[in-house]
């Protein structure tokens, strides 16, 4: 086979992972007023949609103030209006006849199919309008961590998928005990990881295994016997979709006949069934007790597991030894905080470590970052944005498998890079030159050529570019400040130039970095 050595620039670089330098700064609070670059860094990591106007609001404030605001705002907006179909009541079409059967069949078809796409569109709307809170980034974190794929051979209908998303919203930075207890009997999860089939005669270990391996402790921190015991402890939880078949459709309920009433041993703890078997008693003595035993007996392991994942999500996906010391510190704090995430996350996001210059611009953006930010500025259809993200390998409500998205460099591949550019061009076609011009006009001080260029670049880039490249980007708008002043008056001409600039922005490596 012929090998062309002149192209040795490709040799070995792809996929090779170089560690970044060591960041010495620790968890001590970064107390100096934030610079523009620091505000941009914080907002880009905590939200999906960035804008110069929002950055303006927070420049000069402290990290403490801004981070508190991002969490307070999240709390204030974590009950958005759900899509209308969430209120639908559906009866089992198989038990009906004639028109009613057809009607319920059609409705259920939509719930199992199209509406899951609509729900993705609804979520894009939430993401792109959430510029000043950490809510959507956290909901997306949980979606990737406590995963459920709606499209799993037999599709999971939209209502349980919505309810799971709502669970993440309500517990976006809450208590890990609560979240694990609730996800264990979450309707969509019961279907996805076969809790629904986990019955005393034939325990199904799917959920028990993932609970330990992927959701709380990580591989190597439990035995196969622990998994078997966990599965038995969790027998009897079911979900049904149809209103005529369940008192609580789409939510987990307890079926005493499927519950294993024998005593079980898990992590050296006995789970005896010496209580009256009611839904509430079993929830407290089996589900809650199981989570309690995991997080109490292996609290340090669970804390390390979760803080590593959160560090990778918010700071850097490829932490080194020095970072690990910091992660250990965070983990101890999570244990002390009794697994309340909010105080620990705040500590991380306010820290000198987080704001260290070395940590800026080194994360790969996911398609959610690139596409949501784009459609928060330019006209498009939110449901289509969901489809574009799906084409780029991130389908909301449908991660590739139970371990969620791989993240990091998997987001930027020889397929996704040209496809991202292709689809953003499509987004641009929804906008006229006048739209581009008006968008630029909406940026404060847009008459100032250099300032406008820098505002546009900061909106989309993970880091500032060199003076030489900055000049080249500026030149796409106008040869001189004076020329820009005159071009501005002609919306068509100005818009054309702004569009040209944007077409170049999306090609830059910085566009894919955060």
């Amino acid at each position: 086979m012929s090998v062309v050595s002149r192209r040795d620039f490709l040799g070995g670089l792809l996929g090779s992972v170089t560690e970044r330098g060591e960041v010495q700064a620790g968890l001590e609070e970064h107390t100096a007023p934030l610079s523009r670059e620091e505000v941009r860094h914080l907002l880009q990591r905590c939200t999906f949609a960035l804008s110069p106007a929002v950055i303006d609001k927070y420049v000069g404030k402290t990290a403490g103030e801004v981070v508190d605001t991002l969490f307070n705002n999240a709390q204030a907006r974590n009950s958005p209006t759900p899509p209308a179909f969430v209120n639908d009541v559906i009866n089992n079409p198989d038990k009906l006849s004639g028109n009613r059967r057809d009607e319920e069949s059609r409705k259920f078809g939509l719930h199992s199919g199209d509406y899951n796409w609509d729900l993705g569109g609804w979520w894009v709307t939430q993401m792109k309008t959430d510029r000043e809170s950490i809510l959507e980034k956290m909901v997306f974190f949980w979606h990737g961590h406590l995963t459920t794929q709606y499209s799993n051979c037999v599709n999971i209908p939209v209502i349980p998928m919505y309810l799971q998303n709502d669970l993440f919203r309500k517990n976006f930075a809450g208590n890990f005990y609560t979240l694990l207890e609730k996800i264990t009997i979450d309707g969509a999860m019961l279907i996805y990881l076969n809790g629904n089939d986990n019955i005393s005669e034939a325990p199904n270990e799917n959920y028990g295994r993932e609970l330990l391996e992927l959701f709380s402790l990580g591989v190597g921190n439990y035995t196969e016997a622990d998994i078997k015991a966990a599965a038995k402890i969790l027998t009897g939880w079911k979900v049904k979709y149809f209103a005529d078949e369940s008192m609580t459709p789409n939510r987990g309920y307890f079926n005493p006949n499927d519950f294993d009433k024998n005593s079980k041993r898990f992590f050296d703890e006995t789970f005896s069934v010496n209580y009256e078997i009611t839904q509430e008693n079993v929830y407290n003595n089996s589900v809650r007790k199981l989570i309690n035993v995991i997080l109490t007996k292996k609290g340090n392991v669970a804390a390390k597991f979760m803080m590593t994942k959160l560090y990778r999500y918010f700071v850097y996906s490829n932490p080194n030894k020095t970072d690990e010391t910091l992660i250990n510190d965070l983990s101890s704090r999570l244990v002390v905080a009794k697994f309340e995430f909010m105080p620990v996350l705040k500590t991380l996001l306010k820290s000198k470590h987080f704001f260290d210059e070395k940590n800026i611009g080194i994360q790969m953006k996911s398609p959610a970052d690139t596409i949501v930010n784009m459609v928060s500025h330019f006209k498009y259809v939110d449901k289509y944005a969901r489809n574009v993200m799906s084409e780029l390998g991130l389908e909301l409500f449908n991660p590739p498998n139970v371990s969620g998205w791989k993240g990091y460099r998997s987001w930027v591949s020889t397929k996704s890079l040209p496809t991202t550019i292709y689809y953003i061009h499509e987004i641009f076609t929804y906008n006229t030159n006048t739209d581009f011009a008006n968008w630029a006009e909406g940026i404060d001080n847009s008459g100032d050529l250099n300032r406008l260029t820098s505002r546009i670049l900061e909106t989309f880039f993970g880091r500032a570019v060199s003076a030489g490249r900055f000049k080249a980007y500026t030149a796409l708008l106008a040869a001189s400040p004076a020329e820009w002043s005159s071009v501005r008056g002609d919306k068509n001409a100005a818009g054309q130039r702004v569009k040209k600039l944007m077409e170049n922005v999306i090609k830059a490596p910085e566009f894919y970095l955060s």
Partner: protein
């Protein structure tokens, strides 16, 4: 024994056992085309057991392919080909079989089958048979194959090309993706010219630079390869005509790129829609249409590649993540199963039926067939016999040395290798003494304890009725007093074979009742006490 001899022996052993560092310069010109049938192809309706009563009566009462429409391909093994497979150029895949250019590989599967699509697809694509349901499957078998060249400069042509949308796990190595994904060479070229294809030198410290350079290099690679692919596309041609179906068009592109001189080793094309849980249909159904498209695409490709003169270096295989269960379900479809068939095609393959008919293998759990040959055997043979690597190399890629299917493999070039493990004995087929035909599984027992009511005694105005159904059937449930008086119909519906819990309404005066359950033509009863 002299000293010299000993050292020669040692050297021999070293050469045999050491994992040979490969150089891409030394790769042969052979090419593999993988046709992935996404969704789980129904092997039993692809290659039908045309003389088997059980197939027509018990397993596929409504979905069978009629005996008078199929063409026997092995009378001895009782196997026939679906009529759709005779569609296409020169008699389609059946035509290829008759010419000795199509292999029918029966009974492939793996241990502890996973019925999740994604997991099972990943198992097939990774070439790893996991020991537990959560063992990670981080890389694909071809990704690992091309990982061995990661120390060298990238070759002029991409290692692998996937025609489709999403990068497949098959090509993911530890050192990144080994394939270029494209839907059309021209779109790829157009898109490739849109990316930043120049190296941008930035002044920054190493840590930021490494991420920046990573992104930058992806762009450079895309642009470079898009040019190479376009060049091959422009200088290549097709001679045969293809249908407009997606798979045909994908294979047409592959043939043209091969003809254009692209040195890519593996091409991956895909056909979706095999997940026929519902409305699989019989002769005119969804599945038959898919097979027709498959046959048209593969036969056109093979004819094209022969006319273009590249047939000696190209073989193809079909793969699917699992087979389907022998029993049809209640939705005119079939559910995820285990053992199935694969096809191989090309002038280099053994054009015969290899392996015993999987449909006669005993059921492992009442629902699913056992298998005879580990599917990785096929990959192992491609690595060793087709790409010319050592069996040690093959073992490094696939985890262990594997026996070739039927010991002599599916390629003409493959020789029986005594150093490989013996293939496991195929599952024993039981012959029913009454009929003289293969008998699969136990005859289902009809026991009353397959129905229960809970809570029982019933305290509220409702209770659950649990039904364990082995056949799909219309179920009618009525409430009857102990003296046989009917109180009312509780529910009626069509149910698939599975466990079902249904709510029944019991707004009746206290007392003991009989819940009568009619499943098809059989009636059962469960007593319940209303408090």
């Amino acid at each position: 024994m002299g000293l010299g001899l000993v050292s020669t022996l040692k050297l021999d052993q070293m050469e045999l056992s050491a994992f040979q560092p490969a150089s891409y310069q030394n790769e042969n010109d052979n090419i593999v085309v993988v046709v992935q049938l996404f969704g789980g192809n129904d092997g039993m309706n692809t290659i039908t057991p045309y003389e088997w009563d059980m197939y027509y009566k018990q397993f596929r009462p409504t979905l069978h392919i009629p005996r008078n429409t199929v063409t026997p391909i092995s009378k001895e093994k009782g196997m026939a080909m679906h009529p759709s497979l005779s569609q296409g150029v020169k008699g389609g895949m059946l035509g290829l079989f008759k010419e000795g250019k199509l292999g029918v590989l029966s009974g492939l599967g793996y241990n502890n089958p996973d019925f999740s699509h994604f997991r099972s697809t990943d198992i097939w694509l990774s070439g790893i048979v996991p020991s537990s349901t959560s063992q990670p499957l981080p890389t694909g078998w071809l990704g690992r194959y091309f990982d061995t060249f990661s120390g060298e400069p990238k070759p002029e042509s991409p290692y692998c090309i996937q025609v489709g949308k999403t990068p497949s796990l098959m090509f993911l190595g530890e050192t990144g993706e080994k394939s270029i994904v494209l839907e059309s060479a021209e779109d790829m070229y157009y898109q490739g010219q849109q990316v930043e294809g120049n190296r941008i030198a930035i002044e920054a410290s190493e840590y930021y630079k490494s991420e920046f350079d990573y992104v930058n290099n992806v762009g450079v690679e895309v642009q470079e390869y898009s040019r190479v692919i376009k060049k091959a596309f422009d200088s290549g041609k097709n001679i045969e005509s293809y249908t407009s179906a997606t798979l045909s068009q994908q294979l047409k592109l592959v043939a043209r790129l091969i003809d254009g001189g692209l040195k890519t080793k593996v091409y991956f094309v895909e056909q979706t829609g095999y997940d026929t849980h519902a409305n699989q249909g019989g002769l005119d159904g969804t599945h038959s249409k898919l097979l027709k498209e498959l046959s048209e695409a593969i036969s056109a490709f093979q004819s094209d590649i022969e006319q273009l003169g590249h047939d000696k270096k190209v073989v193809g295989i079909t793969a699917s993540e699992f087979g389907r269960r022998p029993y049809e379900n209640g939705s005119a479809g079939t559910d995820h199963g285990t053992s199935s068939v694969m096809f191989s095609f090309g002038t280099a393959v053994r054009g015969e039926v290899i392996g015993e008919y999987f449909g006669y293998f005993p059921l492992i759990d009442g629902f699913n067939h056992s298998y005879a040959t580990d599917f990785r055997s096929i990959y192992f043979e491609l690595v060793t016999s087709w790409f010319g690597k050592s069996t040690e190399f093959g073992a490094a890629i696939l985890g262990e040395k594997l026996s070739y299917i039927n010991e002599t493999g599916f390629l003409k070039s493959t020789k029986k290798d005594p150093t490989l493990p013996k293939p496991p004995d195929p599952p024993v087929v039981t012959i029913d003494p009454d009929t003289g035909q293969p008998m699969v599984g136990e005859k289902p027992s009809l026991e009353q304890d397959r129905f229960s009511i809970f809570p029982n005694p019933v305290t509220d105005d409702w209770a659950y009725l649990r039904m364990n159904l082995y056949y799909q059937a219309r179920v009618v449930v009525t409430l009857v007093t102990l003296d046989g008086r009917e109180v009312g119909k509780l529910m009626e519906g069509e149910y698939r074979p599975a466990q079902h819990d249904v709510i029944i309404n019991l707004k009746v005066p206290p007392g003991t009742y009989l819940v009568r359950i009619k499943v098809g033509k059989v009636t059962y009863g469960v007593k319940c006490v209303k408090l």
